[in-house]
């Protein structure tokens, strides 16, 4: 092949495109988070929805307080509170139909409860008598996910499977700002977009991953901007404006249900409490910041809005508080009973059928427990090694 042979044979045309290029513009989030309260949209918000959100927000706040109190009493090993994030938690639960699925992160016990799961079953993980306390299929709520972002591909797979089966099911998956840095976040969003799976990803950007502030987590214009790279729309919302969060999520759910594929929603909010009761937040943030955010509290914002529109009188407010107190009292009472434990459960759920090895080990533990019981009951053997066969 000589130069002369080549001459004129090649046109410097642009390279063939690899796939139809979509316009990125509609995928980009707005520069400012979407809000309802304090905007011209406020008056259009459905009063019933606002009242329902309010009742759940108050209950949610109370639930967070009660769960935190239970850690102090030693009834819960640990509690990652969502105080300050109730608008996101509640909206995520309320926006779904019964047939839809919720994929919560470890902080989202409140969303799980708001979806209808028994609070005691929801807290089983944190009390420590078992891992997942509820039946995921009953309320279509996946187990609370401790390994961050790992629940996101599950949501995608489930939504995809439902669509393959012809079922009208949407999955909503929750994750924190920190969780967006994980590889699983990336892979899940990419699969969702390629498969056009009916999934909504809700990132609660509460400013911190334990002690690590957002600026050390990402340099992106916003987390919602990550959506563009997957070819899905990104939406930014004021996470403390319950009506706004609900609306943006509802839009995304509708979009997914209609076959439009996934959406990434970033809700800007704040973790008012420490990471968990075991954390000391003063090590990494100042009071001033916390106070600023308390001035933008989701419960108070909604309360004020209801009041402004004359949708909440003191009687109604009192009733809401009474309901919340009743829930808390019930939770307190039931959590103050020791759970009944059967150590033999350890062996029963590893496989559908225990392996021969597990049966042996089960037998071993049964014998040990019998020996233990005997040595406690028996007449003063006193030996620590009561079970040995010498």
């Amino acid at each position: 092949m000589t130069v002369l042979e080549q001459r004129g044979a090649y046109r410097p045309t642009p390279p063939p495109a690899w796939q139809p290029r979509t316009d990125p513009a509609p995928l980009l989030p707005d520069a400012e988070p979407y809000r309802v309260f304090g905007t011209e949209r406020a008056d259009a918000a459905d009063p019933e929805l606002l009242r329902r959100l309010y009742a759940e927000l108050v209950k949610g706040r109370r639930y967070n307080a009660q769960a935190t109190a239970l850690t102090k009493q030693g009834r819960l090993a640990v509690y990652p509170s969502s105080t300050g994030q109730e608008a996101c938690e509640v909206a995520a639960a309320l926006v779904l139909e019964e047939r839809d699925w919720l994929f919560p992160s470890y902080r989202d016990t409140l969303a799980v409860v708001a979806r209808g799961v028994d609070p005691v079953e929801t807290l089983t993980l944190l009390r420590g008598d078992w891992h997942t306390g509820y039946d995921p299929h009953e309320h279509r709520v996946a187990p609370l996910s401790t390994p961050l972002a790992t629940q996101l591909p599950h949501a995608v797979g489930l939504a995809h499977a439902a669509r393959l089966k012809g079922d009208d099911v949407v999955a909503l998956a929750m994750v924190g700002d920190g969780g967006t840095s994980e590889g699983d976040f990336h892979e899940a969003l990419n699969f969702a977009a390629v498969w056009r799976a009916p999934v909504v990803f809700l990132v609660q950007n509460n400013g911190f991953a334990i002690s690590v502030p957002l600026a050390k987590q990402t340099a992106a214009p916003s987390l919602a901007h990550k959506a563009v790279g997957y070819g899905m729309p990104g939406r930014l919302v004021d996470g403390n404006d319950a009506a706004a969060v609900h609306e943006v999520l509802a839009d995304a759910v509708r979009h997914a249900r209609a076959g439009g594929g996934p959406t990434l929603v970033e809700a800007i909010t704040y973790r008012v409490e420490a990471h968990t009761n075991a954390d000391d937040a003063t090590r990494y943030r100042g009071d001033a910041e916390v106070e600023t955010w308390k001035g933008h509290d989701p419960v108070a914002l909604l309360e004020r809005e209801l009041t402004r529109r004359g949708l909440l009188d003191d009687d109604r407010a009192a009733a809401v508080r009474r309901d919340a107190e009743a829930m808390a009292a019930d939770l307190r009472a039931r959590m103050n009973r020791d759970p009944v434990l059967d150590p033999m459960d350890l062996f029963d759920h590893v496989y559908a059928e225990p392996t021969p090895q597990l049966l042996e080990q089960r037998e071993q533990l049964r014998a040990e427990l019998a020996a233990e019981a005997e040595s406690v009951a028996g007449p003063g053997t006193g030996s620590e090694a009561g079970g040995t066969q010498r």
Binding site: T132, P136, G157, D348, A352
Partner: protein, 334 residues
């Protein structure tokens, strides 16, 4: 072990047939992975499946192993039976968190309410001249992860049977497919495939009375060869093919060792921390007074898998196995 009216078939063909039969029988079986659709997989195990069952039943995924396994978990949650192909052993590692923290634990975490009927197919082992990261034997990782079944075929009929049993299982099963046996042939009639045996059974591939070779997967043919060669030395070796590492068939293995009084565990995976330790330890625990010599191990060396031109020195071969048999303290007998 093999059907009667049989024509030769390869292990690859048996695996393909198992997938096809499972998909035809049960619409909830979905195959997914890198290049499994149009291409039929780099080893052609999924050949023809996308064509026959459509892209939704046999799906080319994006190139992301954690995403593949993670979405398969979600699909299994919704009642499907995903069969995931990893392209090579070392490329399953990115999915390790999904495997260890979710696949293996989901049933347990949920007190049995959310079982995951999921099959993870991993071509494994060396001997095919692969460049680095293409020849790992990673079974030790999976064995040490409770909640997984771990099985590996050594014969054509077992490839079919184990894959069918894996797909039928209500628990996650890691099926380790010995790469270098993909093209091994056996008389097996794809039109009358063998019945599906339950997982967890070892099989005596060759009876003998001098000593037992305990092995699995790619090392089974090597052990069979070694047993033949050993006759010259006057040893009549029994060969046990484990087939299932989890659950482990103590009964079959120990019955053999009690009979022979001597045993060598043979595998290609690295020795230190490899499956052989577990096997030798549990055989010794159970058969101590029947043993004329310690259970020995012949395994790959404790190093990253070697480059192709050196792999023959790494892989346990006939000589190394016979050396070990020779060290089984025969003088103790006479």
């Amino acid at each position: 072990m093999t059907t009667v009216a049989a024509k030769p078939a390869t292990m690859a063909q048996a695996l393909t047939r198992a997938l096809r039969d499972a998909m035809a029988e049960d619409p909830s079986v979905h195959v997914m992975g890198e290049d499994v659709g149009t291409l039929g997989g780099v080893f052609r195990i999924t050949d023809g499946l996308a064509e026959e069952f459509g892209d939704d039943r046999c799906t080319d995924t994006p190139l992301a192993e954690a995403g593949i396994l993670g979405t398969a978990v979600g699909m299994a949650m919704y009642g499907l039976r995903p069969v995931v192909e990893m392209q090579f052993d070392a490329f399953a590692y990115p999915a390790f968190e999904q495997l260890a923290s979710h696949v293996a634990k989901m049933r347990n975490r949920t007190r049995g309410r959310m079982p995951l009927p999921l099959t993870l197919r991993i071509p494994y082992g060396g001997g095919i001249g692969g460049v680095e990261h293409h020849s790992d034997s990673s079974e030790a990782y999976y064995m040490a992860t409770p909640g997984l079944h771990v099985v590996t075929p050594a014969t054509v009929p077992d490839a079919y049977g184990l894959l069918r049993a894996a797909i039928a299982s209500d628990d996650p099963v890691v099926l380790l497919e010995p790469k270098r046996l993909y093209w091994s042939k056996d008389s097996w009639d794809p039109e009358r495939p063998t019945a599906v045996e339950p997982l967890g059974r070892a099989v005596v591939r060759r009876s003998g009375r001098s000593a037992t070779l305990i092995t699995y997967g790619p090392s089974v043919p090597v052990c069979m060869e070694a047993a033949e060669a050993a006759r010259v030395e006057g040893w009549d070796l029994e060969v046990v093919d484990l087939r299932s590492l989890v659950p482990f068939d103590d009964e079959t293995v120990c019955a053999s060792v009690r009979r022979t009084g001597r045993a060598v565990v043979v595998h290609e995976s690295g020795g230190f921390g490899g499956p052989g330790g577990e096997i030798a330890a549990r055989v010794t625990e159970r058969c101590f007074h029947h043993l004329e010599a310690p259970v020995l191990r012949v395994a790959g060396f404790d190093l990253p898998y070697p480059p192709p031109m050196l792999e023959r020195h790494h892989l346990p071969g006939v000589d190394r196995i016979l050396d070990a048999v020779g060290r089984l303290q025969w003088e103790a007998e006479s």
